[in-house]
Structures are given as structure tokens and as C-alpha cells.
């Protein structure tokens, strides 16, 4: 892949933006997910509605004034409704939010995410991380969750130290059995490709590679055994047009690096 044309954050934002369809609602956190949603809305999904954790529906993010938190004026710029945090999540519980975008410190072979603690004992952590915020709620309540993350071996672990945000739990029917009736992680967009889940076992599998990346490279950068889809696609690299539009959203390069 021609790595001169774009960096990892730009690749993630463009590929993530393409996952969003028009006439849907997306729960987006700040950083690359918000940029991806804003890009999708400007490009191919003008009737996309963003829902933001701070209790914000339908904002129009001002280029150059990107929010660093989901709970500030920049995230609420020209919004259509400010229902409050609890009610924003209740819209998702009711079924109004099609897609949730998430990142994560650690992710396992069933798509479960840890953003709470590293180490075996929650009350005596080796490393205390910031915590769930709304990630657990997004993972539990949206119709579909898409994880967007750099692909690093230390992030992709066989078993997370702590399940902050549940995806398929231990696979098979365990998500449903826990009372999580809806949603689940459909895809993991990374800097190397796109991963999905085998329909029955819910184990992670390779579904697409970015140009110049092989399935072997993805395996080498993953801390557990990956399955493979029957056919592995190759993604289209970000176009000049996509990159230009994306960069115009973050002229300070606060999140694009």
C-alpha cells in the first residue's frame, strides 16, 4: 500500500466512514469515530444522524473546532436536540440507533473490549484505565457495533483482562443467554483490514485486507488464532477526494495526527 498518501488515522477514518449507510443513526465517540461519521455524512450519507454521548442528537461539527469530549459545546454545535445523557442512551435502548462506533484498549477473539483495568484483580489493577464511559451501553444497546482500532498484537489478545463492553462474550449463544437480546459487534475495522465474526461460533475472522496487506500479516499482528471468511476481499484505498474532505474536517490535525 502507498503509505505516503495517508497515515493510519486517515485510513481508519475513511474505511470506517464507508461502513455507514444513509438514512441511519450512528452513536459516535470523539476522535476518529466522529471524523468518520462526519465524513460519511458529507460524502455518501447526507441523511445520517449522529447521536453523541453527552446527550446530543444531530450536531453539525464545525471544522477546526472538533470536540475532545462528547460533553462539550463543540460536540453540540448546531444540534437538533439536547435530550440529556440518560435519554440519549435510552434512544439506543429503544432501538433508534443503528450503528455504534467504538475503540478499545484490548479486544479479544469474540470482540469483547476492555477499557477498565489491566491485570487480573479489578480492585488492585496493574494499570487503571479510564473506564467504560458509554462504551458498555453502546455495545449493549445499538443494533450493530463497529469497532475501529489500530491493529496491534498487544491490543488483540485471546482473552481480555476485564470485559468492559460485551460483544459475543464466549461465543455461541452466550450473549443472548446473558440477556443481551439485541446487537453485537459486526465488524472490526483496523489499520490492516476488516475483521468479522463466524456466524455460529462468533469467533473473529479475516474478511478483508487493505491493499498490500496479506492475511499472514494480520495473523502476525494478532494475539489469537483468526478464522478466515470463504472469500477475503481487498479494500479500496482511500481516494484523494475522501482524504481531502476528511482533512478539511480536522485542519488542526488534532485527531488525524
Amino acid at each position: 500500500m502507498n503509505t505516503e498518501r495517508f497515515n493510519a488515522a486517515e485510513l481508519l477514518a475513511v474505511i470506517a466512514a464507508r461502513q455507514l449507510r444513509d438514512d441511519t443513526a450512528v452513536f459516535a465517540g470523539v476522535g476518529v469515530p466522529l471524523l468518520a461519521a462526519a465524513l460519511a455524512k458529507r460524502r455518501h450519507a447526507p441523511r445520517l444522524t449522529m447521536v453523541i454521548e453527552g446527550g446530543i442528537i444531530g450536531p453539525q461539527i464545525a471544522p477546526g473546532r472538533l470536540p475532545v469530549s462528547t460533553n462539550e459545546m463543540r460536540a453540540a454545535h448546531r444540534a437538533t436536540m439536547l435530550p440529556g445523557i440518560t435519554d440519549a442512551f435510552l434512544f439506543a435502548q429503544r432501538g433508534f440507533v443503528d450503528v455504534g462506533f467504538m475503540g478499545g484498549a484490548q479486544i479479544d477473539q469474540y470482540g469483547n473490549i476492555n477499557t477498565s483495568v489491566l491485570g487480573p484483580d479489578y480492585w488492585h489493577p496493574k494499570v487503571r484505565l479510564p473506564g467504560t464511559g458509554g462504551a458498555n451501553d453502546i455495545a449493549s444497546l445499538c443494533r450493530e457495533v463497529i469497532i475501529v482500532t489500530p491493529h496491534e498484537k498487544r491490543r488483540f489478545v485471546e482473552r481480555v483482562d476485564f470485559v468492559t463492553s460485551p460483544a459475543w462474550l464466549r461465543g455461541d449463544g452466550t450473549r443472548r443467554a446473558a440477556g443481551l437480546l439485541f446487537g453485537g459487534v459486526s465488524r472490526v475495522v483496523t489499520t490492516l483490514g476488516i475483521l468479522g465474526f463466524e456466524p455460529d461460533s462468533k469467533r473473529m475472522r479475516i474478511e478483508a485486507t487493505h491493499p498490500g496487506v496479506t492475511a499472514d500479516v494480520i495473523r502476525q499482528n494478532t494475539g489469537f488464532a483468526l478464522l478466515e471468511a470463504a472469500q477475503i476481499e481487498t479494500t479500496e484505498p482511500p481516494s484523494d477526494d475522501e482524504l481531502e474532505m476528511l482533512r478539511s474536517l480536522d485542519p488542526e490535525r488534532r485527531f488525524l495526527g
Binding site: 470523539v30 476522535g31 454521548e53 453527552g54 446527550g55 446530543i56 464545525a62 473546532r65 475532545v68 469530549s69 460533553n71 462539550e72 459545546m73 463543540r74 453540540a76 454545535h77 439536547l82 440529556g84 445523557i85 440518560t86 442512551f89 435510552l90 435502548q93 477498565s116 479489578y122 480492585w123 488492585h124 489493577p125 496493574k126 494499570v127 487503571r128 484505565l129 479510564p130 473506564g131 467504560t132 464511559g133 458509554g134 462504551a135 458498555n136 451501553d137 449493549s140 444497546l141 476485564f162 470485559v163 468492559t164 463492553s165 460485551p166 462474550l169 452466550t174 450473549r175 446473558a178 440477556g179 443481551l180 437480546l181 439485541f182 488534532r254 485527531f255
Partner: protein
């Protein structure tokens, strides 16, 4: 330390109702000083703080809690920011109930959070953002729990002692999110009349629920408006005077955090604060407390440390974003 069991006092809806029944629900004037208002906070109390992260944080009230050297407090807040760090570093809190703690993405994982929680000095009880919102809402409603479809199946269940129930109608498994009835609510609002009828602009966060759930409600306001103003726009009132115990007029009462439409958060101040911690370790917060909390006697003296230009700049930025 680190007892994962729920504290029954937090969800005992009968006792919580008795406490509200026993207190005066007065329509009298509530205006007072920060010192007098915060004098109601006792060592060991559970404080719930309004706003969210660096938005509409009642920092003048938090500063006064620190100045009065309260100890063994529990802090609950949906997303916890610098106010949580100050309370930890001052030795004021032994337990924090929250969904997330740090300042924000550009400043990384909070080193103060890491220091105090990893050493075991402070127990951090984590709930999902919605679950914590529902804890306050159940408190506001006066019920012991609310059913929800969140937090199920995750390891968060074991942290705060969340229980599940079977839906009596469909038989499905639901989270029974327990009420949270704090002792004291600390709230900052845009405007109030002298009777404590409070109005908030922009995103409401969880303040109205927190105020109803708490036993004692302390409010700071950017502006005191005539009673006639409240009566002209009663639909904008989100906390009624009858629920408010003390009200203090504190312009820029959230600074350097933001107040919707009035001033944006001072990112530069966050950067200076975290740079000092990066350079000198957690002890840097002790110096910060001396300079910004224990040193300046009044909130206006505190604001003078930032200077009027900095306040005016953040006010201008807020107007640009919300007009």
C-alpha cells in the same frame, strides 16, 4: 477497601423518602455564601456532582469542600474530570463511583487516577454511563431500581454488585439498576431566582435527577434573575426551589471547565496542569491545591489567577459555538 458489595444506604428508597419528608420544603429565599452552603457537608458523606466531565462542573462548590477539609467522602459523577483528581489528591475521597475518569483524549489516561487507584488509596466503582444515569433517575423517582438492557454479561456486573431480575411479563433477564440516593448534590446552573428555582441552558446532563435523588441540594448559579423571569418561563425551570437547600451566586462558577453558551473550557489550563504532573508526578497536584484552592480566599481571588482576558476569550469562544 474495594468492597464490591452495594452500600444499602445508597438504594434504600424508604429511608431516602423519610429523609426528604423530614426536611423543610421551603419557598423561602435560599441565597447564601459558599462557606455557609458547604458547611452542610459532613465527613463520610456521599456527594453527587452535577455536569459531566469538564462541562458545568460545580467547581466553586468542590473548591469549598476542599477548603473545609472534608474527609472520607464518596464522590459519584457520571464522567469524572479534574475535580475528581483534586478530591483524590487532597485526601478528601475514599471512593469514587463513575463511568469514566480522565480529562479528555488529548491529555491521555489520568496519572492521578492511576496513582490513587493502583496504590489502593481510593476505590473506583465503575458503572456504565447509562446505568449511572438510571441510578440517579431511580433515585429521582423514589424507587429502589429501574430495569434496563445494559451492563448485562460484562464484568462490570461484579464491580458494583448489579443484580438481574426476570421480567414478570416476558420472562427475559433484565438488569435491575439500583437507585442512588446521595447525601448531598452539588449543582451549577445558568440562572436561578433567589428562591432557588433553577434553569439550565444547553445539554441538561443528569443534574435534575441528581437534585431530586439527593437529601441536601447545594446550587451555584451564574446569574440571579428576578422572580418575574422564572414566572415568565416556568417551562425552563428544571430544579424547583422547594428542592434546593442553599443557593450561591458564582459567575464563572465552573471555570476552567465550561458552561454552555457562556464560556468554553480552558484547554490550555488543562495542558499546563497535566504538564506539571508529567514533570513532577502526582505531588504536582499538591502545589496546584495550594495555589488554586487553599490560597485564594474567595472565588473571585481564584478567578484573578486566570485573569480577565482568559475568561473573556473563553466567553467569546462559547458565543461563537452556540449563537
Amino acid at each position: 477497601m474495594g468492597d464490591p458489595d452495594l452500600n444499602p444506604a445508597e438504594y434504600d428508597f424508604i429511608a431516602a423518602r423519610r429523609r426528604v419528608e423530614a426536611k423543610p420544603k421551603s419557598a423561602a429565599e435560599k441565597l447564601t455564601s459558599l462557606e455557609e452552603a458547604v458547611g452542610r457537608v459532613k465527613d463520610g458523606d456521599h456527594l453527587s456532582v452535577g455536569g459531566c466531565l469538564f462541562s458545568r462542573t460545580p467547581l466553586a462548590l468542590v473548591r469549598e469542600v476542599l477548603r473545609q477539609r472534608r474527609r472520607a467522602l464518596t464522590l459519584s459523577r457520571n464522567l469524572t474530570c479534574t475535580e475528581g483528581e483534586l478530591l483524590m489528591a487532597a485526601g478528601a475521597v475514599s471512593r469514587v463511583v463513575t463511568a469514566w475518569m480522565s480529562i479528555g483524549l488529548p491529555w491521555g489516561v489520568s496519572k492521578i487516577l492511576r496513582h490513587y487507584v493502583e496504590t489502593g488509596a481510593v476505590a473506583l466503582e465503575e458503572w456504565s454511563h447509562l446505568a449511572l444515569g438510571l441510578r440517579f433517575r431511580a433515585g429521582a423517582m423514589g424507587v429502589p431500581f429501574l430495569p434496563a438492557l445494559t451492563m448485562l454479561g460484562s464484568d462490570l456486573v461484579g464491580v458494583g454488585g448489579l443484580k438481574t431480575i426476570q421480567d414478570p411479563y416476558t420472562g427475559e433477564t433484565l438488569a435491575a439498576v439500583p437507585a442512588l440516593f446521595p447525601d448531598v448534590a452539588l449543582i451549577h446552573v445558568h440562572r436561578a431566582d433567589v428562591f432557588g428555582n433553577c434553569q439550565i441552558d444547553g445539554y441538561p446532563h443528569m443534574d435534575a435527577d441528581i437534585a431530586r435523588a439527593a437529601t441536601t441540594v447545594l446550587v451555584t448559579t451564574e446569574e440571579i434573575v428576578p422572580e418575574e423571569e422564572t414566572r415568565r418561563y416556568p417551562d425552563r425551570t428544571v430544579i424547583p426551589g422547594l428542592a434546593v437547600d442553599a443557593l450561591v451566586h458564582v459567575p464563572f462558577g465552573s471555570f476552567p471547565h465550561e458552561c454552555y453558551g457562556l464560556y468554553e473550557a480552558d484547554y490550555d489550563h488543562f495542558a499546563e496542569y497535566t504538564a506539571a504532573i508529567d514533570a513532577r508526578g502526582p505531588g504536582a497536584v499538591g502545589d496546584y491545591l495550594e495555589r488554586y484552592v487553599y490560597g485564594p480566599p474567595a472565588w473571585t481571588d481564584y478567578l484573578d489567577l486566570f485573569g480577565s482576558e482568559r475568561l473573556a476569550l473563553q466567553a467569546k469562544r462559547a458565543r461563537e459555538l452556540t449563537r
